[in-house]
């Protein structure tokens, strides 16, 4: 029962926040210099044509009516038409979403798993040379400047060594000549490896550091002493008793560091010309494609919020000490 109350409370909170973001965005667009009319309507048009378009877009209605229409349109899945593509924004975004999700979830999961594993070892061997090397490298990874690091990866592994393609997600010739599914999948994987490796290295450091400090505090707990006194082997204490509990804060941090990962993800997509949401947002912003920029932004906000909800629920489920 409590669990249901907790879950619905979290969900309601999330909706309120999303609604707030939606509203702030609406008013930001109206606050921006130059009214929406001149921005969205081509100045080359005759005044009559312009007036007609303004009426068609509903820009002559009072602000509050415009807001109602905006909210209604959003919840019916109508985000307007992209200026650049001339297609519905939803359609453009939905075509990009799988690419982002593929790159993003794979890199986050791999980085979290590797970070937890390495952090566990680092904490277990605290003060050793291995710990020193791991902690310092994690620190360096954590403070790397994403675009520069991505450029270096591209320059060294893509250009100098030539192991990986320089960008994109597929080689067009494979898709024209109707290759088999396996060939296509391998081609996508080949294109994905470099951005994946970049994101992995950028994120693994923070997970490692977090797991290490969490593990160190768990190792001081009484129940670890009890486990030792019982004569359990090091391996069992490390993996079963300590690491399981120490990994909990890492779960929360996946949610909290998501904002940070989204920034890194957008930059990585941009540099490796990976056709995802982040790159689309940057493209829309550079080309003054307001409906598209707004759509990308709202989608990113929705993804961040729902991921945080999932993490909250997961945490409550994993840690029996949490009271709802």
């Amino acid at each position: 029962m409590n669990r249901i109350v907790f879950m619905s409370k979290k969900t309601v909170e999330l909706f309120i926040l999303f609604f707030l973001i939606l509203t702030v965005l609406f008013f930001l667009f109206r606050l921006a210099p130059g009214d929406p009319v001149t921005r969205m309507v081509d100045p080359m048009l005759t005044p009559e044509d312009a007036a007609h378009i303004i009426e068609q877009m509903g820009l002559d209605k009072p602000l509050i009516t415009q807001y109602m229409i905006y909210v209604k349109n959003f919840f019916t899945g109508n985000l307007g038409f992209s200026f650049h593509y001339g297609e519905p924004v939803v359609q453009v975004i939905m075509a990009r979403l799988p690419c982002t999700l593929l790159l993003f979830t794979t890199s986050t999961l791999l980085a979290a798993l590797a970070g937890v594993f390495l952090g566990k070892i680092s904490a277990w061997k605290k003060g050793s040379r291995l710990d020193g090397v791991l902690s310092i490298s994690a620190l360096v990874c954590h403070t790397l400047f994403v675009p520069w690091f991505a450029l270096m990866m591209l320059w060294v592994l893509g250009f100098q060594v030539g192991w990986f393609p320089l960008g994109g997600i597929i080689s067009p010739e494979l898709w024209i000549e109707e290759s088999s599914f396996l060939v296509k999948a391998l081609d996508v994987l080949h294109h994905m490896l470099l951005p994946l490796l970049t994101l992995f290295i950028i994120h693994v450091g923070s997970y490692l550091l977090l797991m290490r400090s969490s593990m160190l505090s768990v190792l001081k707990e009484d129940y670890i002493l009890t486990a030792r006194a019982k004569g359990l082997t090091d391996r069992v204490i490390r993996n079963r008793h300590a690491a399981k509990n120490a990994a909990l804060p890492v779960v929360t941090s996946v949610g909290l560091s998501l904002a940070f990962s989204i920034n890194g993800g957008a930059l990585t997509e941009q540099i490796f010309t990976w056709p995802g949401i982040g790159r689309e947002l940057i493209f829309a912003v550079s080309n003054n494609d307001y409906p598209l920029a707004q759509g990308c932004f709202l989608l990113i906000a929705a993804v961040v919020l729902s991921a945080n909800l999932i993490v909250d629920l997961l945490y409550a489920w994993l840690d029996p000490r949490i009271h709802y």
Binding site: F145, P147, W148, L151, L256, I262, N263, A266, L281, V285
Partner: protein, 297 residues
């Protein structure tokens, strides 16, 4: 008087612990080198107009060439000196990092103290707000603002980064305030009739400030990275040269694979500067939290 001596003693003993930490020492040395670079940028104009990082073009070159005796790190695509740009970039990085970190710890400290001290509905509302701001990806927000308002100037960027990055500070300060709230000296001053404002700013603030400064070093790191990323994407302040913008020029002018002398320095500088702030922060962490110091080795 004795109060002052106590402060100096405390400071010098903290300093000893700090400087014994290899991370802190290395971080401080790198930081000092960058500070020197930033200061040197004020005297670049003495070298003559050719070395102006923004407008100075070497008439004999006017394209990108590698390092030489007259241009230590070479020139960019229109013949501007890369080393001079690097110094100018150091100045901008310090301004952006320190100013925005300062604003965010001021906001975070005040929110955290008020929230922790007041409790109740004020606490709940402020912390909910912190949670909300915390999950927003700052670069994406800055991008959307840049899309709406056109080119942002450097102070606008500093301010936006600051108001997106206070929640972490507020949370830490709040928990510290909660632990201070029921200490005898706070109770005593309340009994003596001190107002809430006075208790917060006179008695609680001095005790949370060290923690706030520790968090400032981490905020500096993230502010520098966000500004550099924004500039790299081409939405920085066009009137200022930042390291991110230098990378943007390498990339957009198509010199990425031809000019390593131009690609390497800005990136190395950004990474080193943020790393050194981070290392100083970690070392300060050990000064403030003795539990971290004693264990190990």
């Amino acid at each position: 008087m004795s109060h002052k001596v106590g402060f100096i003693n405390r400071f010098s003993s903290s300093w000893k612990i700090f400087i014994q930490n290899p991370l802190g020492k290395a971080g401080l040395i790198i930081l000092a080198l960058f500070a020197l670079m930033a200061f040197a940028s004020f005297w670049v104009h003495l070298l003559g107009p050719m070395y102006d990082p923004m407008t100075g073009v070497d008439p004999a070159i006017s394209r990108s060439v590698g390092p030489s005796t007259s241009h230590w790190l070479g020139t960019d695509f229109i013949g501007r000196d890369i080393f001079c740009q690097l110094m100018e970039g150091a100045k901008i990085a310090f301004i952006v990092g320190l100013a925005s970190a300062f604003i965010s710890i001021v906001i975070g400290t005040i929110v955290g103290m008020v929230s922790g001290y007041a409790g109740g509905i004020v606490d709940i509302l402020l912390m909910r707000m912190a949670d909300m701001v915390m999950v927003l990806p700052s670069l994406v927000i800055l991008l959307i603002v840049a899309a709406l308002f056109g080119q942002l100037n450097i102070w606008m960027i500093v301010f936006l980064i600051a108001i997106l990055r206070w929640p972490a500070v507020a949370r830490v300060i709040r928990s510290q305030t909660l632990s201070l709230k029921h200490r005898p000296f706070i109770e005593a001053s309340r009994v003596a009739g001190a107002s809430n404002m006075r208790i917060i700013f006179k008695h609680i603030m001095p005790n949370v400030l060290p923690l706030a400064f520790l968090y400032m070093t981490f905020r500096v790191t993230s502010a520098i990275l966000v500004e550099a990323s924004l500039s790299f994407l081409g939405f920085g302040d066009p009137g200022q040269i930042s390291w991110g913008m230098m990378l943007q020029w390498v990339w957009s002018s198509g010199h990425m694979f031809q000019a390593p002398y131009w690609l390497l320095p800005p990136g190395i500088c950004i990474s080193l500067l943020t790393l050194s702030f981070y290392m100083v922060g970690r070392a300060m962490d050990e000064v403030l939290d003795p539990r971290l110091r004693k264990e190990g080795k």
